[in-house]
Amino acid sequence: MSAATTIARFSPATNEARWVRMLLIGVALGFLTLFLFVPLAFVFHQALRKGVDVYLTAISDPDALSAVRMTLLAAAIAVPLNLVFGVAAAWAIAKFNFPGKSVLTTLIDLPFSVSPVIAGLIFVLLFGLQGWFGPWLREHDLKVIFAVPGIVLATIFVTFPFVARELIPLMQAQGTEQEEAATVLGASGWKTFWRVTLPNIKWGLLYGVILCNARAMGEFGAVAVVSGHIRGETNTMPLHIEILYNEYQFAAAFAVASLLALLALVTLALKFAVERRQRRVDDQDGRRSR
């Protein structure tokens, strides 16, 4: 991989005619502008169209703040859990052989292949009043659907693959030699994990967590089905934006949307930083193997 980067760095990428290059670059830039930069700029423009006061009022509205809290809460529960699940699943799949391994690998991908709306419906069918566990939950006075636990469950389900998907190829490529070396040197499984495996995957792991977090905060479909849109109670940011928009409160909708967009920009910046760091580590690994 580092060989490819070296070539890209030091020799011209193309020797096509000048007009061909301009045309291709122009098309690419035009596309990016139209589909990425313009919408992003539009969000902020719309948000601030009626002035900073309206913007501040919109994002300090109690319902908006409640939606922000709800989103942060769901992410704060879903991301650490998926971090643990993802590392455990990737560790098992990449470092061991066992029957049913390919089934497990497919199951991890399931949330990617299922429509988020279906995912939400699954939970309604399981935990809703008419669902399998509905009567039992009602007897014990527990609410899952149209309440916080449902939102958290849906978020966990939808963001489940991110960490594991990021780690499995990385851990498979690294193999098990270093773990074996640690074991023979007398390290317990726990110490081997903390001192050898984790340091080797930390950048990949961070990258997976960032992606997982972005999706957890932005998730709409699955959460929309289970939340019930109760303002100030079970609204997340994406749901709150939809409600405001449907009520023709465009400035307020875009103001809250701008918060989500800001979050996306922060995520991008973090992702960029982590990728650069990871590439440096990979380059060193490349040198090492030569």
């Binding site: 030699e177 074996e180 070396a181 023979v184 040197l185 007398g186 001192r195 090492r288």
Partner: protein
Amino acid sequence: MSIELTGITRRFGDFVAIDGIDLRVETGELLALLGPSGSGKTSLLRIIAGLETPDHGTVAFHGADATDVHARERQVGFVFQHYALFGHLTIFENVAFGLRVRPRRHRLDEATLRKKVMRLLELVQLDWLADRFPHQLSGGQRQRIALARALAVEPRVLLLDEPFGALDARVRQELRRWLRRLHDDVHVTSVFVTHDQEEALEVADRVVVMNHGRIEQIGTPDEVYDHPATPFVFEFLGHVNRLPVPGAPDDEGFVRPHDIAVLAQPAIGALAARLTHSTTIGPIARLEFALAADARTVNVELPRDAFRSLQLVNGTLAYLQPTLVRRFTQPTPA
């Protein structure tokens, strides 16, 4: 510390990697497991280390059964072909790893640990690299660090899996002499795996030649080279010609390329052949002849000067006189 293996068998699905091996490694010796890839030598080494479990058979250290002892508790040192150094730790911390992960009550205090690690780094002559990271070292240096790391836990036996396999020819030669000297100093019972016969013959006290999960022969380098027990051993330990020899089983005898004299005149027992190809590599001339009788290829090695004085060119008829022919009593495998 001696190692006793009894009836070790290991299967991977239908493939029998190790087929009932009995082996005793004597205290303090340096033993080579030599064989082609797929002969089961690496599996055997990993079974001694506890990284793999045999389907049948027992592993014992100095008479004490260790078959069910976890790799973590076997107190063996293991050196991997690709070093397996911890990339995020300095050279010093790599060597210190085995000492730092001990249970708290057995852990050394920092000063003793530092002294011990630095002594090991001096032993492998790399103490000046203590603060570097593995990726800043050359392959040969990394393998020496891997060795120091394995020795840090004072292993009862040292196991090396193709330790020089990933290095280039020159470093490899340097390093194996160095390993031989190191073993003479440290004297820990050691087993190393290799597919390179030269390496095994040069470094080891005894060589175990393996093929298809079985032991073909055990002996000192001279024994296995001069008195190979089977055609496989003979062929594996160097280049071999099969020549028609009346009276031998299948009428075939085995002759090393350097055990053939090239004559300009016919002689009793000499085979007529034409030179088809020749190369000189340093002091040695490698010649290829085609037998006049059945056109089969015969490889011959001569000192460069002897080749010059014969004044052979391609196509010249010459007479090949085997000076040492090996016959095997059992029929040779096809």
